[in-house]
Subunit: 221 residues, 2 copies
DNA sequence: CGCGTCATTGATGTGCATCAAGTGGTGTGG
DNA sequence: CCACACCACTTGATGCACATCAATGACGCG
């Protein structure tokens, strides 16, 4: 959250985060097509967002953890453009977007903060596009794991150990791969001593090797 | 641009678009890593944006035409996160972002407009992610062509004819395919009488067929 | 006119999807 | 507390879509 605010400004911002909401594992935080009112700051838990085509194909477009913001896609059109589903019991701060805009008129740093958050989402999606468009299966998984552990580490968790909150199928959907391919890549990494996989518990033994794999850069023009 | 403004508000907004800049074909509008100051509204011309990994891989992340906004990725970090290159001689309105934020504090509708534009970019990227993650070559090309012609049509151009401003390789890069695959897909569409391709001039003879191809939905789970 | 760039088309290879069988962990009801 | 069913996962065998390699053709520009 933005720094260097007066107490008056802080009061304003407090009004935003007044309402909280608990979401059970497997439940929707919001669904594509439903009216957009608020964005959400994840307090605890873990979510996935997924987009759907007219013809029923769908794909995981991101995983979100505590401290991250979800729902920005709804601003345009006043309707949510993706589904958000809790992968574990979670709690979010409900932040009505019209309130945010109103307070942003008075608190300049909040306005800028909102812009940064939206820009960050654009940049994040850019890197997903890059991943999907130009990386091979193992490179994708390596990039995914490094990204995940880096975000967890920034939140005070271990730099090497993590619990995957999603299934292999959901990882595959996010990475544009089939679950079998994800599974095989995990096994290969494990064989090579790069990671230790026990169910959804993962230990990264050799992060440097993962970075090398991610940057294979051999083939693609 | 936002509607229903007072003349005073319009004056404010006029201050934004005072500066224009011409970009020659092949030149950068901005480069990844350079300081971010402004976003740009394309007045005339055509651009591509491309993202790059540390190891030198790069990919086209979008094509932008007149009336579209470019540069939103730079807000976070105050550095551009992608390259923007003109595919033909172009002209843009330079809109200093700090000015936008300043005026947004006074003109509520402008603030909301900015949010919508950023949200639209997020939604657009979501659909690119969906395309890259779950569609086959011909489906991708069909979706690409339909999207392109739809945007051109919204700008008063033909619903069926267009000139491709980019090479096959750039299309391929955007779609996560090799140029040969793009070329073959074009030839296949032409054989089937769905389109007429003469170099970069394209005529869509059967838009419905393209929509069907895009929504093939047969295989993928 | 000749060269460079872009595009087409064919032949071959390969990475991942698909299909299929089997394992292990978890939760439920007897 | 155990038996059963279910689901997530692993692993192997096979096939196919697209990449890769290579040769040729069509523009456009100096």
């Amino acid at each position: 959250m933005p720094m260097g605010l007066s107490t008056h400004e802080l009061d304003k911002i407090d009004q935003l985060v007044a309402v909280r909401r608990k979401i059970k594992r497997g439940d929707f935080l919001f669904q594509s097509g439903t009216p957009f009112k608020s964005i959400f700051a994840i307090r605890t838990g873990f979510f996935k967002t997924s987009v759907t085509t007219d013809d029923g194909r769908d794909q995981v477009s991101g995983f979100q953890m505590a401290g991250e913001i979800i729902g920005l896609d709804g601003i345009m059109n006043d309707r949510h453009a993706c589904d958000a589903i809790a992968l574990e019991d979670s709690e979010v701060c409900v932040m009505p977007f019209d309130r945010i805009e109103q307070i942003s008129l008075e608190v300049k740093s909040l306005q800028h903060h909102v812009h940064k958050i939206m820009s960050r989402e654009i940049v994040r999606e850019n890197s997903v596009i890059l991943l999907l468009g130009s990386m091979k299966a193992e490179e994708r998984l390596a990039a995914f794991l490094l990204n995940l552990v880096q975000r967890l580490h920034a939140r005070g968790f271990s730099q090497y150990e993590l619990v995957l909150r999603m299934t292999r199928e959901e990882i595959g959907s996010f990475l544009g791969l089939k679950l079998e391919t994800v599974s095989r890549a995990f096994s290969k990494f494990a064989d090579e001593g790069i990671v230790e996989v026990k169910q959804r518990n993962l230990k990264i033994l050799n992060p440097e090797a993962l970075k090398l794999i991610m940057n294979a850069q051999d083939h693609c023009s």
